[in-house]
Symmetry: C2
Subunit: 106 residues, 2 copies
DNA sequence: TGAAGATTTGGCAGTTTAGCCAAATGCCCC
DNA sequence: GGGGCATTTGGCTAAACTGCCAAATCTTCA
């Protein structure tokens, strides 16, 4: 694999990695319903606000969400809807795993 | 977020995380063309075989690839084609990022 | 200007990853 | 059974990730 190819996969990995955390997947799922401010997400997830803020920064850095200040609050929203396709596929994989597990038990 | 919901997102994250590495993305891309043995992938990527083996173990563990022994070799193949959709979406995000970057420069 | 609330950033500790080498395992063939 | 190749696993180190607390920013409103 040459340097150019390597760079290509690294760029892709940066984006996938931004989704590779349960809290960030939850956030994406939630933002699919509409924009949310940091405090709302903090409330929903139930961890420190600084932690949520960092998760959001990662998603923003990857270009998956964008932010908009409104008063003292910062609202985040999805920038690219297709990330929701990830979920569909992830569900397929999980379904497939479950099915094979049945087979093993049978 | 209750325990059940948390478990749901953790399960999803396990799968996404399995894809969150440049080498593993390359492997998935390559396996989309057909099955490959560990030694072929090692040759293509250019890292230690033990490293490739571990990457493959992670993908297998997540249910994304499956293996089949043939003689002394172990051949890996995609188990769920839809993971390729990840790439499409990742490309969209990157395109979107590039476009915005243009805007910033303009 | 100053207090209060929302968010981000600095810093720290514990955990997980990634990669290499070496050793162990598995398979084929003589 | 033993040598040789393919693969996996154990062990180690360096780097990255997470989450919390505390401190710094930023915004509004009196």
């Amino acid at each position: 694999m040459d340097a150019k190819n390597r760079a290509k996969y690294e760029a892709r990995a940066r984006i996938v990695k931004a989704m590779a955390h349960p809290t960030r997947l939850f956030i994406v799922d939630e933002l699919a319903r509409g924009e949310r401010c940091v405090c709302e997400l903090t409330e929903m997830v139930g961890v420190d606000m600084s932690t949520i803020s960092r998760h959001l920064a990662m998603l923003k850095n990857a270009g998956i969400v964008e932010d908009r200040k409104r008063g003292a609050q910062v609202y985040y929203s999805l920038r690219v809807r297709c990330v929701l396709n990830f979920f569909e596929c992830v569900e397929s994989v999980m379904k497939c795993n479950a099915k094979d597990h049945q087979k093993v038990l049978a």
